[in-house]
């Protein structure tokens, strides 16, 4: 009762990174609240899936295993969660802000009339005093996220409705094994009691899933470009520098929207979060949504013609100048002075 539940995304028998990160966060929130951490595994051929889940400190894993539950479709997963939440009354429910979680979360919240906050960048427990009603709410989940194009940071709460639901993007929370020997219990759900025939209205005809070709999260160095790069062609400079330094190319949303690079390279609140050893921001003004995805980089170099660019506030080195002039010089020095 009143526990924290994490919905685990499962692809090819593996619990997704984002779900592992959320279980890590869920464990620390559960410790703070003195409640249990639970997980949901919905899919097919899930024997032994708990072994991937318990090490994150999960006390109970609910397993719904049925051939019709994988790959993911909205309605049956919604039906299972809605019924289970109605029975178990969790206080907090966390999902990945992925194409699954962002499809599923709103559907569940709409059915349960519970508040959902998308793309949170931080989750904290705190109290709230409603002065108008003279009421104090203890131990609410503060759901913190940038809003309004990143010009404000909002703390959202759900005082009265449960569960308090939040989605979080992959890479935003840290992933950490709680105890490799941790053992919880497995509760197998009788799927037939949770879904109806009508829940299988949407059929998947074909599916091509591919592992992300670009792996910016693992790159020790990220060279990222913004709208200030000016064109798709100018991005070649960044690929050159990334190749020389052994890094990956990333981009701000403005550069992606302008068509300079593919969406998979987007860094920031609505893209990927990276924490490389070195982040080189080229022609990026540095809206907060972008900074949310890179400000924890160990070292940041900002190259920008605008000495007042907001990105400079988080940079360790600010190069005021033209990217097209600076990058070739960096490449030249590196090539002549290493190996």
């Amino acid at each position: 009762m009143n526990n924290i539940v994490v919905y685990c995304e499962i692809e090819d028998g593996h619990v997704a990174e984002v779900s592992q990160e959320l279980m890590t966060k869920g464990r620390s929130l559960a410790n703070e609240l003195g409640c249990k951490l639970e997980a949901l595994a919905i899919g097919h051929e899930l024997d032994g899936i708990e072994n991937q889940i318990f090490p994150y400190g999960v006390d109970t894993v609910y397993v719904a295993d049925d051939a019709r539950l994988a790959p993911y479709t909205t309605l049956p997963h919604t039906a299972i969660i809605v019924k289970l939440f109605t029975e178990q009354k969790p206080q907090i429910a966390l999902m990945g802000a992925s194409s699954v979680g962002r499809d599923l979360g709103p559907r569940v919240s709409s059915a349960l009339h519970s508040g959902l906050t998308a793309d949170c960048t931080s989750l904290v427990i705190g109290n709230h005093e409603d002065k108008k009603q003279g009421k104090v709410y203890e131990d609410l989940l503060y759901q913190i996220r940038p809003a309004f194009g990143g010009n404000i940071i909002a703390t959202i709460i759900n005082p009265d409705c449960r569960p308090q639901m939040a989605t979080v993007r992959e890479g935003v929370m840290k992933k950490e094994i709680f105890d490799p020997k941790y053992k919880g219990k497995v509760v197998k759900l009788d799927v037939a009691k949770y879904v109806t025939e009508a829940d299988f209205a949407v059929e998947i005809i074909e599916r091509h899933m591919e592992k992300s070709k670009v792996n910016m999260k693992a790159a020790p160095i990220v060279v990222a470009g913004g709208y200030g790069m000016g064109s798709k062609e100018n991005f070649h400079l960044l690929y050159d520098l990334a190749e020389v330094l052994g890094g990956e190319v990333g981009a701000s949303r403005a550069a992606v929207d302008a068509g300079y690079v593919d969406h998979e390279r987007q860094i920031g609140q609505t893209g990927v979060t990276v924490r490389p050893k070195l982040y080189i921001a080229c022609g990026i003004s540095g809206q907060i949504q972008h900074r949310a995805g890179m400000e924890e980089s160990a070292q940041i170099i900002a190259i920008n013609t605008d000495p007042e660019a907001p990105i400079n506030a988080v940079a360790d080195y600010v190069i005021t100048g033209d990217v097209a002039e600076v990058i070739p010089k960096m490449i030249k020095y590196y090539k002549t002075n290493t190996k």
């Binding site: 591919e210 600010v318 002075n337």
Partner: protein, 291 residues
């Protein structure tokens, strides 16, 4: 060939992508008046998919439904200039302060009044909130299936829509029975441009409130040409439980809002001169950041 009743859910949003220096007031709050109001970009992708269905299935009608203040009628006209047949503006002070759930409740009650719709198309998300929640929440409230992240409507046959979805890590083709809700990605084709003939036809299209506030010498036109009347619905026009609207109908509350103030850390500022770049690179190599 069957014709369809298509509803496009659209939102007028402040253009948060072009936030200038005058966008923040002296007290640190947002100066909404300084931000241009635009047709939410992905809702235009949604409109394009609707217009393609209209082309492929003659007799299909495309209606734009938007909730917002009176001036949101602008995006209905904008949609008409591109090929939408008509529009409904859902506007009332009672909707103020709605979170996504209260918004989807109001929209779904308006859709219940529309009735007989086949396909509801919305943009994946709006740029002022980026939540991507209203589409799925409306679908749930109407009790019909949803398909999110749509990139292409491939065909419609035997009461089913066949769609291509673009996901983070791949592509899916799905079929979904009608009636249904789909939300469309920015990776879908851009919306067609305004059409000169349609601009001529619809430029005087107005809501009742707009008509009352204008000194039109041609009021009779609105009787002769019913297509110039944009429907305007307030709370009284739809069946609602008032407790489900606005702030009281919103489970999420904004506890605090913090304006983003950048705290500068001590950055080393250098120029693009050769020796300064060389010094930086030497430092990075020496401290093993690179190399």
């Amino acid at each position: 060939m069957k014709a369809y009743k298509v509803i496009v859910l659209a939102k007028q949003v402040p253009d948060t992508r072009n936030v200038g220096k005058d966008a923040m007031k002296a007290d640190g709050t947002i100066n909404r008046a300084a931000l241009p109001a635009i047709f939410n970009p992905e809702d235009l992708n949604a409109l394009e998919q609707a217009l393609r269905i209209k082309e492929n299935f003659p007799g299909t009608t495309v209606t734009i439904l938007t909730m917002g203040p009176g001036r949101a009628a602008e995006i209905i006209r904008e949609g008409m200039f591109r090929g939408a047949d008509d529009g409904i503006l859902l506007t009332d002070r009672a909707f103020a302060g709605s979170d996504t759930l209260a918004t989807s409740y109001a929209i779904s009650q308006a859709l219940k009044k529309v009735k007989d719709f086949d396909i509801i198309i919305a943009g994946r998300q709006a740029i002022d909130g980026d939540t991507a929640q209203v589409g799925p929440q409306v679908a749930e409230k109407l009790g019909i299936p949803q398909v999110t992240y749509v990139e292409e409507v491939q065909k419609i046959e035997n009461g089913k829509v066949f769609l291509k979805r673009r996901l983070e890590r791949g592509v899916e083709q799905v079929s979904c029975p009608i009636p249904m809700v789909m939300t469309v990605n920015s990776s879908a084709p851009d919306c067609r441009a305004r059409n000169a003939k349609l601009i001529m036809k619809y430029k005087h299209a107005k809501t009742v409130t707009e008509l009352q506030n204008s000194n039109e010498d041609y009021l009779h036109l609105y009787n002769d040409r019913p297509y110039l009347n944009i429907s305007e619905w307030s709370v009284g026009d739809i069946e609602v439980d008032h407790a489900e609207l606005g702030l009281s109908g919103s489970p999420t509350k904004v506890k605090t809002v913090e304006n983003v103030v950048l705290q500068a850390k001590d950055a080393k500022v250098i120029s693009a001169l050769d020796n300064e770049i060389d010094d930086l690179m030497r430092e990075l190599i020496e401290n093993h950041t690179i190399g």
